[in-house]
């Protein structure tokens, strides 16, 4: 067994897309993105601007909320940069990294968050895209995550294109993808998994040239995650499985 749990592989995989001096955003219904941003603030030796859907700008929340839109995520913030403001920022090119959820993702990194089956007669109605359709094509980079890595979530063809423009990155319990030449390419696989397994469980075809096992968590990453999830409740509630 590696030093990753399926949960930490996903969260750390997301956090590692965060870069120095950039503006990074986490939104509603996005516990993993919230944790990744808060983790990066604690674990990485660089400065970046963390803004969130509660209007927080580099906040210092007194507790880590269950809801990633909880107003506590603006606690300690010196301003409230509310919904209209961060959408406009994204549209004018000021959002460097945007974490956006997805139900289905295709090989170009486009997403479906609307419906499984025909939109008009859905087998399953999904939450809807929220920011996606506007933010995915306008953010400089966008990163998504899926706790279920399977051919029904990582698909060849989306049932509905909620948001186009293509994800820069994708983190799952077993793999990290990064965009190369317009398509998601495999960057890392969880050492507890394998290239074969990732290929078998991914519905779209991908380039795996240069892919390596995911580098293990650093001491700083482990400490930050332990701090944010003190009693392990987030990890338990997320119920992420390797397979």
């Amino acid at each position: 067994m590696s030093e990753f749990s399926p949960f930490s592989h996903t969260v750390l995989g997301m956090a590692r897309f965060i870069r120095p001096d950039e503006v990074t955003f986490s939104g509603v219904n996005s516990t993993f993105a919230m944790l990744a941003c808060l983790l990066a603030k604690r674990a990485y030796p660089f400065d970046f601007t963390y803004i969130n859907v509660a209007g927080g700008v580099d906040p210092d929340p007194s507790f880590i909320p269950l809801s990633s839109s909880d107003p506590v995520l603006a606690q300690g913030s010196c301003s409230i940069f509310a919904n209209e403001d961060f959408y406009d920022l994204c549209c004018r090119g000021g959002m460097d990294l945007c974490f956006l959820g997805a139900a289905q993702i295709d090989g170009e990194g486009c997403t479906n968050v609307s419906a499984i089956g025909d939109w008009h007669k859905p087998k399953v109605r999904l939450p809807g895209g929220g920011g996606g359709a506007v933010m995915l094509p306008t953010a400089r980079r966008a990163v998504t995550w899926r706790t279920e890595h399977s051919p029904r979530t990582l698909v060849k063809k989306l049932d509905f294109v909620t948001a186009s423009g293509g994800m820069h990155g994708l983190a799952t319990p077993i793999a990290i993808f990064e965009k190369r030449d317009g398509r998601l390419a495999l960057k890392h696989w969880n050492p507890d998994s394998s290239l074969d397994e990732v290929t078998e469980r991914t519905g779209f075809t991908f380039d795996a040239i240069g892919a390596t096992p995911t580098p293990p968590p650093t001491a700083q990453e482990r400490e930050a995650l332990a701090f944010l999830d003190k009693d392990g409740a987030f990890e338990r509630d997320a119920k992420v499985r390797l397979r």
Partner: protein, 271 residues
């Protein structure tokens, strides 16, 4: 001191007729006008259209009670560990709720058109999405020659905006703490603005920091005072989400839940 606009919650809800379109303030479980939403259920309202970028408990309980039959929304969920809003989901799947699916920013663009007094409003992004074709949205070339095409969203003017705030004056000024979410554009785009407030404060308090006021009195038609009225959601910084109640709400096997829930809500103790 201008005339008081304070009315009982039942009176506030009675102003919204069957078939009206209603923008609801807040986001997901946070600072929604949930006392008003429950009062609409008690009064047996029907055929409402709900407009909100990110509804959750509110649209779900309105679907559960058969109050809403149309919606323009961006993302709908209970959030946290609870995932999808189950009665909303079924209402859409069974065709009982006619959905116009938006991105949060397209709903906002439509509301901006109403607020700005123009018939449509450009919005960034949307390129490659199936949403424009679904909704019949149009892409226009830049008439000034930049060669940038822009999607435009038709005006969205809710009949009502109802928001829940921490403080109001009797004259109808209102302010929130923490994020105002989408409440600013909702109150500027709607035909009529109704306020639910945790408490009334003296006008002098607002006058000390007028820049903190979200809604000025002349936009407000009426105010109801309901302490804890955003329950079981949060109202920053006064109280957080009541998660045990949300958990009970999500138990679909409890057939008597809705009645019990409506009876135990905070507004029933203050009317």
């Amino acid at each position: 001191m201008s005339r008081s606009k304070v009315v009982p919650l039942a009176d506030l809800a009675a102003r919204i007729p069957d078939g009206a379109s209603v923008a609801l303030g807040g986001s997901f479980l946070h600072r929604g006008p949930f006392a008003l939403v429950r009062e609409l259920i008690r009064q047996g309202r029907r055929n409402l259209e709900i407009m909100k970028q990110s509804p959750g408990y509110d649209i779900d309980i309105l679907c559960r009670a058969g109050v809403a039959d149309r919606a323009r929304v961006g993302i709908v969920a209970m959030e946290g560990n609870f995932g999808m809003a189950p009665w909303y989901r079924r209402a859409v799947e069974q065709g009982k709720l006619k959905l116009e699916e938006h991105a949060c920013a397209t709903l906002t663009a439509g509301m901006r058109a109403a607020a700005f007094g123009v018939p449509f409003q450009p919005v960034g992004g949307l390129h490659g999405s199936d949403l424009p074709a679904l909704n019949g949205w149009v892409k226009l070339p830049d008439p000034y020659g930049s060669n940038e095409d822009t999607w435009v969203i038709p005006r969205i003017r809710p009949d009502f905006a109802v928001i829940h705030v921490a403080e109001a004056t009797a004259s109808g000024d209102a302010r929130t703490f923490g994020t105002p979410n989408w409440d600013h554009i909702m109150t500027r785009s709607a035909g009529r603005v109704l306020i639910v407030a945790e408490k009334l404060v003296e006008e002098e308090v607002f006058a000390e920091r007028p820049e903190f006021t979200l809604v000025p009195r002349f936009l407000t038609e009426a105010v109801a005072v309901v302490p804890n009225g955003a329950w079981p959601g949060s109202c920053w910084p006064l109280y957080g989400v009541d998660y045990p109640t949300i958990e009970a709400y999500m138990d679909e096997t409890d057939e008597g839940f809705l009645e019990k829930h409506l009876a135990e809500a905070p507004e029933t103790r203050h009317e």
